[in-house]
Symmetry: none
DNA sequence: AATGAATGAGAATTCATTCAT
DNA sequence: TATGAATGAATTCTCATTCAT
């Protein structure tokens, strides 16, 4: 990659990051190209040169966001900590500011461009799936997950928790109950009627 | 209420319903006042006469939506069916088209007017809380819910399920797994190691 | 027509006339909506309320122009003056400023929206045709036009002259030669080899 | 001319031709520098290096177009075919696609830069004039043109025909009438009352 | 000489809101 | 009360032109 290209790539990333930050703060639809331009210290036209139109910029920002999420997740799965620790991190760690942005991207993509959105979700799923399988395998092997449950359902269950706890409000309300909440994760509402080997 | 007022109230409701339908189809931010006016067969100014500005209209539409949700929930709690049936309905019945609108209202309110939003959520919670307590009480009494769990956590847990299954995509993916998913609801990932008295 | 409508129609006409004048002075593509708005003393949005988009405005202005041309032509045909006088007027009178606008409308319509353009030309032709026939009939009856010539060709021939002499440059160059030019109109390049009964 | 210059001249011509083709297809005002650059396989800046600004490019393209027209005309005059044949060719042969581009250049130049435009017209006229005189002389000598007509008027008359028949629409409508139309060219509307020695 | 990157100025268009009746 | 008409402000996007290498 020559000097031109490298600089160019860097600028593209600058723009994406600026737009991501603004999207997080004000929501996607509220942010104008001119604001992004100002924040990224480029002219509006430069943005158009790189992304052609606003939709493309949003799309690429969404991709950027998802790529980050994915690599975070993979890193977590590979970490050398006990299974319940991993789950706790996955469920409780309201990852930085990412709070509500997920839903908004989701909404935006669904409404305007459902095809691309699906494509993205798909590729994301495919990337993530193997690691999810690995995680579930680990859980089953170590006796934390019922072996009779299908991976499909387990995955949805985990994702549900992860998504839910990312909401700002929720994470607030959870603060004093996080232990209990993790326990519910494993034992459901019915609870564990036996000796608690989990030590959550 | 005299004839004037009644007619007036009817018109207000017409407008709210029109805006709600449009919000559901196109998302809140995409819908303009003029579109709402057209759909409700009134002039734009009439909308301003009733609601003063767009924000108020959205706010009232949100209230309208929440009131419906609440009364649905209360009706469900009062129904004379076994506890697990209630839960199933709550969790699996992807209530009509209401699908993603919830999240969008949520996003919108958080971003623009967090104070009012909180007020609304609060009053909503207060209205719903007693019935939730009743529901939880029923569950605990009949042995479906671990008595040691706090109502707070139980409520969040149930809401999490309810919200999650409302997403269009999710309900698609769930179709063949709904039984298993309900089971997870009660037993969590650890699963039930004993005889299954639930008969889900 | 009530007061509202009348005022509204008047405003629409104001806008069309403003845009027509500007088109004539600067050419169609050079004129922006905001300039038209300024000249018509309305806001840009008012123009959009009436015409929806720039193309529609241009289209209606074109229609307005053509309607004027047509009624001018019809008036001329109905005038009570000798045939050669009518021709002279038709050919030589470089009608006010209308100079080059015709061609520009023509170009614009061809390039962007050939369908509508054709429709307009057609309706125009249909309106004008009967009067053209009348004019030609008059010419043939009085011995100014060769009876063997087809109306089609005669019409094109006359139009060709009319169009050509409308060009600013041409009318300049013609000034000292207009008599001769009218003569050519009747006798072509070959000239009249007999006594000149026309008295042009 | 050394290699450098030759290559450079070639590139300049490439650009002019690209712009000419685009102008013909989309109209002058609709074509952007970047499109021309793409079509000519050069960078935008290269165009600026050669032509300084868009106006100059258009101007040179116009010159290029006119030069072609002129040399076509001169070739025609020099051809060894009977006079009426020459006229037919001049009048009826809707030269390739050049159709409406003439008018557009004309409009453009008039509106924006009437001075240069005049200069161009002038030089063009000067170049063409001698050959026009030759053509007219030939016509008069062979009895096809009335000797009393001024060259000025004859020239305008011929140009009028040539221009008119170049329009796409016109040439369509003319198809079945071309013979008759040529006849009108020579005899005007009054027609030839004697034996027809022209054999058109 | 040639070009990828960048931009200021301005274009069409949309929208929430107000005016006047 | 109800509404047709009108608008200021903002938004997306385009384009001729210049910068920097």
């Amino acid at each position: 990659m020559d000097g031109f290209k490298r600089r160019s790539e860097k600028k593209k990333l600058d723009i994406i990051q600026a737009s991501f930050l603004l999207f997080m703060e004000y929501g996607i639809q509220k942010v104008s190209i001119s604001e992004i331009a100002k924040k990224a210290h480029v002219s509006q036209v430069t943005i158009y040169n790189y992304f052609e139109n606003k939709h493309n910029l949003i799309y690429e920002t969404y991709k950027f966001y998802i790529d980050n999420e994915v690599s975070d997740f993979i890193k977590l799965v590979k970490e050398d900590i006990p299974f319940p620790e991993k789950i706790k991190k996955l469920i409780l760690q309201s990852r930085q500011a990412s709070a509500q942005i997920h839903e908004e991207f989701y909404q935006y993509m669904i409404q305007d461009y459902s095809k691309e959105h699906n494509y993205l979700e798909l590729s994301y799923t495919e990337q993530v799936l193997p690691y999810f399988d690995e995680l579930i395998h680990e859980g089953k092997k170590n006796g934390f997950i019922d072996k009779q449950l299908s991976n499909q359902v387990i995955m949805m269950y985990i994702q549900m928790f992860a998504e839910y706890t990312k909401k700002e409000e929720v994470s607030m309300a959870l603060l004093p109950n996080s232990e209990e909440f993790s326990k519910v994760f494993f034992y459901g509402l019915f609870g564990y009627k036996d000796t608690n080997k989990l030590n959550l």
